[in-house]
Symmetry: C2
Subunit: 473 residues, 2 copies
């Protein structure tokens, strides 16, 4: 049994506007109906795999559980990092957590924001690697390159690999991101593979490697795990200990220093979807190089990605060449295809201007479900709110606003001061300013309701919480 360890802490901005700090790309259905995180969890679910261990940030904990539930996958263990510290501390924390049950078990470390179309091929490569991992090797998976890519690091093998019969092979060394000439040489050599950040090893082997090569991480990470606090099914790493942990990648901290490395080549296709150019490449562009998604119409375009991320939004491209255009109801990106790496500068410009779209997503996720603002006036705001079955908002009141709730799907249980009532589709409730109220979903189906707020101040921070199932302030 191999434990999948899914790393899901990142917050890439290079896929803005679809990926934002508050809702990063692994949680978005970038290709097809599934999110990348769901695809990663499903890929490592089934025979041969035990329950997964997810390492993520506190802000994303309810998104993780919601998406695992949506994919029908048991949540396993979810470790919450108080702050992002890159991959090495996350992997060590996972290893220490797993060591409590099985110090000799195997763990497969995988990012949760990549695509691997050939899942059967990857599972075969994992089986190949498991043997070496059981023998104490630190196994990486190297992707057979299909182009002279300068954006990735490479793994150098002692001899050319055979794509038809991949075998675990000794690693000669890691190669940093190359220039174009060196990339072309490596592509031609047959001895170089992309470093995809996928690892397989035993808990014991990786612990020993950390002790040998990154001893300074061991004490604070051990403390963070030992003092981790269970919280509503999550395990929160100790923030004080974690604050002392250096942010460093697994490659730098351990892999590039270890001498018990093996590589399993994998030729089934892979992408880190690192920018919109990569998304274009993985979106099956047609003969003219045009890839569209959603309600998008391309006329006389070439080498262009055109995406609409909302059913109510049409995007039309006319006479475009080497262009990336991604439209959402609150934000649109139009970029030259060669500038895909610079989308972060677009986000920086919006941040500088104080635009909420820089970081916030139109749909805001909460432990109990999500909401989105539909329209905002001087003295009113309309929200659409969805509450998961069995979930409850906090018991709360507002100083500056009254609220009308109209239930449009499902049946809500509403507490209003001393009274509790059921409110079903097509019924409404009025929450006067200052009244204590709570919204719960006692049923088996989601509730959807429309909230109309009126008042002089409508900020999210006008909330007094008296009781909260999710232990928020």
């Amino acid at each position: 049994m191999i434990t999948p360890v899914l790393l899901s802490g990142g917050s890439g901005t290079r896929l803005w506007p679809l990926s934002r700090k508050s809702y990063p790309k692994q949680f978005v259905p970038l290709l097809g109906g599934e999110t990348l995180f769901q695809a990663a969890a499903r890929r490592l679910h089934g025979p041969g795999f035990g329950p997964s261990l997810v390492v993520t940030g506190s802000d994303f904990r309810f998104i993780v559980t919601e998406q695992l539930a949506g994919a029908g996958i048991d949540p396993g263990t979810i470790l919450l990092e108080p702050a992002g510290r890159n991959t090495a501390p996350a992997v060590l924390a996972a290893a220490l957590q797993l060591a409590e049950q099985d110090p000799d078990g195997l763990m497969l470390v995988a990012p949760s924001d990549h695509v691997m179309p050939d899942e059967a091929g990857f599972l075969a490569a994992v089986a190949e690697g498991a043997e070496a991992a059981r023998a104490g090797k630190l196994v990486t998976f190297g992707i057979a390159p299909d182009r002279a890519e300068t954006g990735y690091g490479y793994l150098e093998l002692a001899a050319p690999h055979d794509p038809a019969a991949p075998r675990a092979t000794d690693l000669v060394r890691f190669v940093e991101k190359p220039d174009a000439g060196r990339a072309a040489e490596m592509m031609a050599s047959g001895r170089h593979l992309w470093n995809a950040g996928l690892f397989l090893f035993s808990v014991r082997a990786i612990r020993e490697a950390f002790e040998a090569h990154a001893p300074a991480l061991c004490a604070p990470v051990s403390r963070a795990v030992a003092q981790a606090r269970p919280d509503l099914g999550f395990l929160r790493l100790d923030p004080e200990a974690w604050a002392e942990v250096e942010a460093i990648s697994l490659d730098y901290a351990v892999m590039e220093r270890a001498d018990n490395l093996a590589v399993v080549p994998f030729a089934g296709g892979w992408s880190d979807l690192g920018d919109w150019q990569a998304v274009w490449r993985e979106s099956a562009p047609d003969a003219q190089g045009v890839a569209t998604s959603g309600r998008a119409t391309a006329i006389d375009c070439s080498n262009t990605l055109l995406r609409s991320e909302d059913d109510g939004l049409e995007i039309v491209g006319l006479g475009l060449e080497n262009l990336l255009a991604v439209a959402m109801p609150d934000a649109v990106l139009v970029a030259h295809k060669d500038r895909a790496q610079d989308v972060k500068s677009a986000v920086a410009a919006l941040t500088a201007r104080g635009a909420r779209q820089a970081e916030a997503f139109p749909r805001e996720h909460r432990p109990w479900g999500w909401f989105e603002s539909l329209v905002r006036g001087e003295r009113f705001q309309v929200k659409r709110i969805v509450v998961h079955p069995g979930a409850a908002l906090s018991l709360q009141s507002h100083h500056h606003r009254a609220e009308h709730w109209i239930v449009v799907e499902g049946t809500a249980r509403v507490t209003l001061d001393e009274e509790v009532q059921l409110v079903s589709e097509n019924q409404s409730v009025y929450i006067p300013l200052g009244a204590r109220h709570r919204l719960e979903n006692p049923g088996k189906l989601p509730i959807a309701l429309i909230e109309v707020q009126t008042g002089g101040y409508l900020g999210e921070d006008d909330i007094v919480r008296f009781d909260d199932a999710y232990a928020r302030d």
Copy 2:
């Protein structure tokens, strides 16, 4: 006194998505806060001008009155065309209508979708032309070209004009849209001006010209005017007579055949804003050729127009060259700048797909105000509705939906079966399925309300009207 005759029937699609069939470009604030129609009406309002006569389509009648009211301009006469028939019939109908009061009066015919930044200069040109018009001439205004434009027709003068002292001059002939070489020659000659579709003549002179050069138009247009039916302050041309009228431009029908033409040169700048390239040109592009509007951010762009048409929508352009991008919450256009003339093919593609965005605007205008759909689910829809002071929706009922109304601004008078009540900010009313109801604004300020509909069918056509102030079915 000159009567301004504003032609406002068109429905250009080349400025899609901002200009759509249901809400064409003259009614949109394309440059600055005023709409083009309002700017045109204001330009010809004041000393020397009488009340205006607007010729427009039936669908736009309430937009015209709303926009004139917004600009503080008396509505004058509004002639409604049962169908568009190009400019000649519209001008003749206007002349016949004006002849009833003053057969020798002057009329200034102007499109309502152009820009003329130098309004004082234009009024001086009008004063210059009035003299010739009073002497029986058909006066056109010719724009001094600032580039060798191939998209316009030209007016050829007998001698070069003096931009410093424009005078009414005899016209030698009309020149069709030229090729690039001919355009450059004409630009250099000093004897050629753009034909802007602006005319000044007496009612008598243009009637005589129609009788001489386009006699077939006279009988049906005369009947359409004689049998016009007053309707709530509008004057509806008779549809049966109008159906017999040929669609033809004033230039083809009359101007190119008449021998009593004069031209007043005008060098104060003008644009028909015929496509997004023209809008870019009139939007004061910076040294790199970048023009932005609304919440738009251009990074490393050149010769690019970037517009966001909604406060809640950010658009970012990155590394763009020769690009046009216009974003609205329901539709986005991204086009190469040289393809501005082909935006109609984008609209055609959407029409073929049945996308409502091809013709419909997110905000739908009605005699009483406007509404927009905020969100639509399986069995619910949320709308924002604004009702003008003094206006009333029809007394109506629905077979398939119930409605919740929450007033968020102003005070509404609501009729619900036999009961009439006032509903003010922060109050709500429930309209059960089948109930007869009416919404009125008895006050001096607009009402804004949020309507939440629930039911199995939510189309606009589920409406039974019992009584309507605007005589709709």
